[in-house]
Subunit: 375 residues, 2 copies
């Protein structure tokens, strides 16, 4: 068999991997294993194992010899075999939708910082769009011998099914931006309802009475929470929700553009302020207003949510007044907490962090000036 193997990359190199040309299937075989190291160093596999796991009970002399052999052969332990034997992968998985979305800027920075502070390897998996099948596939993959725990981001309504399945297995995970209180899950959340209420209260405090709402991706739970926050605040402040004040977007935040156009065409009842479900939508809403020659915030105030540092499609409007959620901290904490959970170093038996939001004032909101809206 040995003779039927050839080196896969380059031809002159003798590596530790070789292609199996004997069978039809293209597989990579390992040619230097712990067994070979043991033979060459003249010790048992147990001893080699002790050395690579940095255990204390090995004589200096033997250890040195083994280390030297390892170096010489370019040996590296096979993590699959290791995981199988140890019941531990030393890895953590992060699963999100649309990793490319600049929304993740701060969250990923947090994950990366967390990764730098732990000895676990962190791997990211991403499903495109709202793809449930892909997301579920990744969760199954990671939770079966590939990682020791996973962090699941997202509040898609379809995520509930995934989480249900995962819960049943008993595999450790923490949820970000999602919760199922009844299911005893570990989660890290912000209060979207309160954040939205604060936002609309803020607009009302600036004497706006005609406040509209552009809601977010209809497949997400946060959308509903923020929408309800809007409703509650409007009610609390005794403000009337005129016809068409509630504009729903599609899964695509660019549709905020068209929704804003609709709001601006409302004539007499045209809103003087709009609370958008997130900053990406707000950025497109403002774009629409500017394209129609409305000034933001003089003619119409626009408020967002998220404090998204990096906005899509080269946004150039005024700085967006928004509700901040501490995504960097959440990313960082999720890694730290999951690590602790896996090491049994957590005092509480369930992670349930609620992070507070705060309003960040920029340039897209102005007090209502008492002038009847231009029609």
């Amino acid at each position: 068999m040995q003779k039927t193997l050839t080196c896969p990359q380059g031809t002159d190199i003798m590596g530790i991997w070789e292609w199996d040309r004997f069978h039809k299937k293209r597989r990579l075989y390992r040619v230097v294993t712990i067994k070979k190291v043991a033979e060459m160093a003249g010790v048992s596999r147990s001893t080699v194992s002790r050395v690579i796991n940095d255990e204390q009970n090995v004589s200096c002399k033997v250890k040195e010899r083994v280390l030297h052999t390892i170096q010489e052969l370019g040996y590296s332990p096979n993590n699959a075999a290791r995981s199988l034997a140890k019941h531990k992968t030393n890895a953590i998985g992060v699963v999100v939708n649309n990793l490319h979305d600049p929304f993740f800027y701060d969250l990923i920075r947090g994950f990366e910082q967390g990764a730098a502070e732990t000895s676990y390897n962190i791997v990211f998996c991403s499903a495109l769009g709202g793809d449930v099948v892909g997301k579920e596939r990744y969760v199954r993959y990671l939770s079966n011998g590939v990682t020791d725990g996973i962090i699941l981001y997202g509040s898609y309504i379809s995520d509930e099914h995934i989480i249900n399945e995962l819960s049943k297995t008993g595999f450790p995970y923490v949820l970000i931006e999602n919760d199922f209180s009844n299911k005893n899950t570990n989660c890290m959340l912000i209060d979207n309802l309160d954040g939205a209420k604060d936002a609309v209260d803020y607009l009302a405090s600036l004497h706006h009475t005609k406040i509209a709402h552009i809601s977010g991706n209809p497949n997400k739970k946060v959308t509903i929470d923020r929408f309800n926050g809007y409703l509650e605040s409007m009610h609390k402040n005794s403000l009337e929700i005129h016809e068409n004040y509630i504009q729903h977007t599609t899964a695509d935040y660019t549709s905020g553009y068209e929704r804003m156009k609709t709001l601006l065409s409302l004539g007499e009842n045209r809103p003087t302020a709009v609370f958008c479900s997130d900053d990406a939508i707000a950025s497109f809403a403002i774009r629409a207003a500017m394209d129609l020659s409305f000034r933001v915030p003089e003619d119409i105030s626009v408020m967002g949510f998220d404090n998204q540092k990096i906005l899509p499609d080269n946004y150039r409007g005024p700085g967006i007044t928004t509700v901040e959620q501490p995504l960097y901290q959440i990313g960082l904490d999720s890694i730290c907490l999951l690590t602790k959970l896996l090491e049994n170093k957590l005092t509480e038996k369930r992670i349930h962090n609620v992070y507070s939001t705060k309003i960040v004032i920029r340039d897209s909101v102005a007090p209502y000036n008492g002038v009847a809206p231009r029609v």
Copy 2:
């Protein structure tokens, strides 16, 4: 032993994972394995294996019974065991620095699309900053039983060492934005030298003669290539490189701001056009110009590189005229090609794609108007 196990997440659920409370170490044990499925279904492990691998030679009746048992027990095969036995993980790893950087927008979209088109699981790993140790750790991790091949992004000079080590092992990989022709590596590149020459030629064709350069991250090879492109074009067009026309930034693109300030303070020889090593730098250079009340492009033209769709820190200057590299395509292709390579379906024996760049004209460059620069 069974009695010393308890369920990790929640307490009422009987899952397939259970904590080992018997030993000191906290490990997850699998309580439902192929063996248990076989017993319950009254067949051999071989048969169960055939069913979960969807092989043809199983009678319908047996197959159905096994499938039903699997469903009932919530069984999922352990990927570590599978990888070990099959010599195949069915996964591909992607390793980058600074995954959070919006520079990756198009590249990640390409990877995601590629992932959607292949049956391989794609996992991303990210090292923070220019961290070599972290990057190398991930490469070692992924290339030892975790994935079947990896895609390595980045042209850090320190990457060479990593690639050398990886080459020695014979593990399959493809490089993006990096090449070692002498090492027979698979790579996907753009011609940075030519792209930069085109950019400076373009500025020269608009009658600019005083053209400066702000170079990029000094630890990257592309920086050197683009710098050389600038030099070559200046030479070819017989343009003088005045003192201080070459400004080097640090690893941080925000330093483009200070470098631009220096250029603008050059008095009589102040450049009328600046070619920046990348768009992120260009965005900060333009910011500096605007802050000093220079108009872009009327007072000074600025050109970038990359056609980065999403710029950092809320850039609001004019659209940046730039050199486009097809990152989406490169991301997509890298997954497809590596997949083919792994399946032995590649006709050529080495991947070596060079993608062409093209100039994208926006609003940050204007023809030189013949007026002596304002001092």
